[in-house]
């Protein structure tokens, strides 16, 4: 099979995830709650981002045994995270047959200069981006799906909004610019810039992540152009994970219908406690990792 078809097959799974909610889970019980609440996929990880932030230390790929247990007991796609640039972790996740590999800034970086070369992998990759340059570099490396970085584990939507708006506005302003200059600035081939400028959109789906905690947050990101949302700490750090998970699923489906988002928002208990960006020292911001 040619590399082009392989890439199409990888992007195709991202297409199937559109209009859904991908939920962080740390054990089988949470994975089952997520599936029953209508999650389109689960991200299996040992600690959710807000705990990684609190605990400190080196955050690595999760224990394969825990990922396997979830794979064996839910029917929806299972994703898992590897460290940025840690291609051996990615190889293990592929051997485990996870459905999507998230090369994630939430984990400690393994390589400060290079991300994983994702083309040789049959498993698709999702990567975070704060702006168009980062998004295109990741796509050029073989990512089949882009998500905003946002600020994971913060419960604060401000960074996800910033990143989504940045990518959208840079896409809009690309037409009419000097493509060879842009190619140099973004460090990607000029053909990729031309393709993106012509279509006015990324060549892979564009999802939102990092700080989504409420049905309203999910609706906001969808209205800003996200095609699906990842919810990390927001569900299992809340007081009512199952109800909140389903409410966010409903609000993504009906994101443009405020009455439906309202009815999904009724009767929810407290959302996770959020962090102000000023409370997170710059050297502890996940979104600063990997560019």
């Amino acid at each position: 099979m040619s590399q082009e078809y392989d890439f199409k097959t990888k992007v195709a799974l991202a297409e199937m995830l559109k209009g859904g909610v991908i939920m962080d889970v740390t054990n089988l019980e949470q994975a089952k709650i997520a599936e029953e609440a209508g999650a389109v996929s689960v991200m299996a990880l040992e600690r959710i981002p807000s705990d990684i932030r609190k605990d400190g230390g080196v955050a690595r790929m999760s224990n394969p045994h825990m990922i396997k247990e979830i794979q064996d007991n839910v029917s929806i796609p299972v994703m898992a995270k590897c460290r940025i640039g840690h291609f051996a972790e990615a190889q293990i996740l592929q051997a485990l047959e996870v459905d999507f590999i998230d090369e994630s800034e939430v984990l400690t970086m393994a390589d400060e200069h290079f991300h994983v070369d994702k083309h040789p992998f049959k498993a698709p990759f999702v990567c975070g981006a704060r702006n168009l340059g980062e998004a295109l570099r990741r796509i050029h490396e073989g990512a089949a799906l882009i998500r905003t970085k946002g600020e994971a584990g913060s419960g604060n939507i401000v960074e996800a909004v910033r990143h989504m708006k940045m990518i959208t506005s840079e896409l809009k302003s690309l037409q009419g610019q000097d493509f060879s200059e842009k190619a140099k600035e973004f460090r990607v081939p000029i053909a990729l810039i031309e393709e993106v400028a012509k279509n006015g959109k990324l060549p892979v789906p564009n999802f939102a992540a990092g700080g989504i905690a409420t049905p309203a947050d999910a609706s906001l990101m969808m209205q800003l152009g996200a095609e699906t949302v990842f919810v990390g700490s927001g569900i299992f750090k809340s007081d009512d994970p199952s109800e909140r998970a389903h409410a966010i699923v409903q609000s993504v489906t009906h994101f443009a219908d405020a009455k439906k988002v309202l009815s999904a928002s009724y009767n929810l208990k407290d959302a996770m406690k959020g962090l102000l960006m000023s409370d997170i020292p710059e050297d502890q911001r996940f979104s600063e990792r990997g560019e």
């Binding site: 097959t9 990888k10 195709a12 199937m16 999650a39």
Partner: protein, 187 residues
């Protein structure tokens, strides 16, 4: 005007195909959106997620079943599972629009997904070959007497027709193939 169920999944690729063959389209998110449509598409995506949303809205399920009595429905992948008689998982809705039994994720996880040519053969027409993506695809394990075989991949049945309804286990729409949409809504 043909509707595309838009609870979750790749409904936009079907809108794109309908536009390409000159059929007006509309997203269907509520039972009221079915009114006035001459056909409906149930797209790919996660069958558990779509089922989860439909199970909580019985009037929507009833509306789709009633619609299927006299108007064509095209289902791809998860859409085929929703149209089947049984997929052997209580988390998944089966509306029994086509008498088939289905095994979900039958090819395995995403690393076993692939694109390939499938053969399409229906009454009075030469067999045709179209490209389709099989993404964590289901397999048809049993079909009722009144169900016609429409598509095959190698020797396996991957598409069926019952009366005016069509369902396939794969995604021709991701390869810009228009044949099944034409067959279903222009036939």
């Amino acid at each position: 005007m043909v509707g595309v169920l838009a609870l979750q999944g790749n409904f936009q690729s079907h809108i794109h195909i309908l536009n390409a063959i000159g059929i007006e389209s509309r997203l269907v998110k509520n039972v009221e959106d079915l009114s006035g449509l001459k056909g409906l598409i149930l797209p790919g995506g996660e069958s558990t997620t779509m089922s989860n949303l439909l199970f909580r809205d019985q009037s929507f399920i009833d509306g789709i079943k009633l619609f299927s009595d006299n108007k064509p429905i095209l289902g791809t992948c998860a859409g085929l599972i929703l149209m089947a008689k049984n997929s052997f998982d209580k988390k998944v809705l089966n509306m029994n629009i086509i008498d088939i039994e289905v095994n979900r994720n039958a090819y395995g996880r995403q690393v076993h997904s692939f694109d390939d040519l499938i053969n399409v053969e229906y009454k009075n027409s030469e067999p045709l070959s179209i490209r389709a993506s099989f993404i964590r695809a289901p397999k048809i394990t049993n079909l009722g007497e009144d169900v016609e075989i429409l598509c095959k991949h190698n020797s396996e049945i991957v598409g069926v027709k019952k009366g005016m309804h069509v369902a396939v286990t794969c995604h021709p729409e991701l390869q810009n193939e228009i044949l099944l949409h034409e067959l279903c809504f222009k036939g």
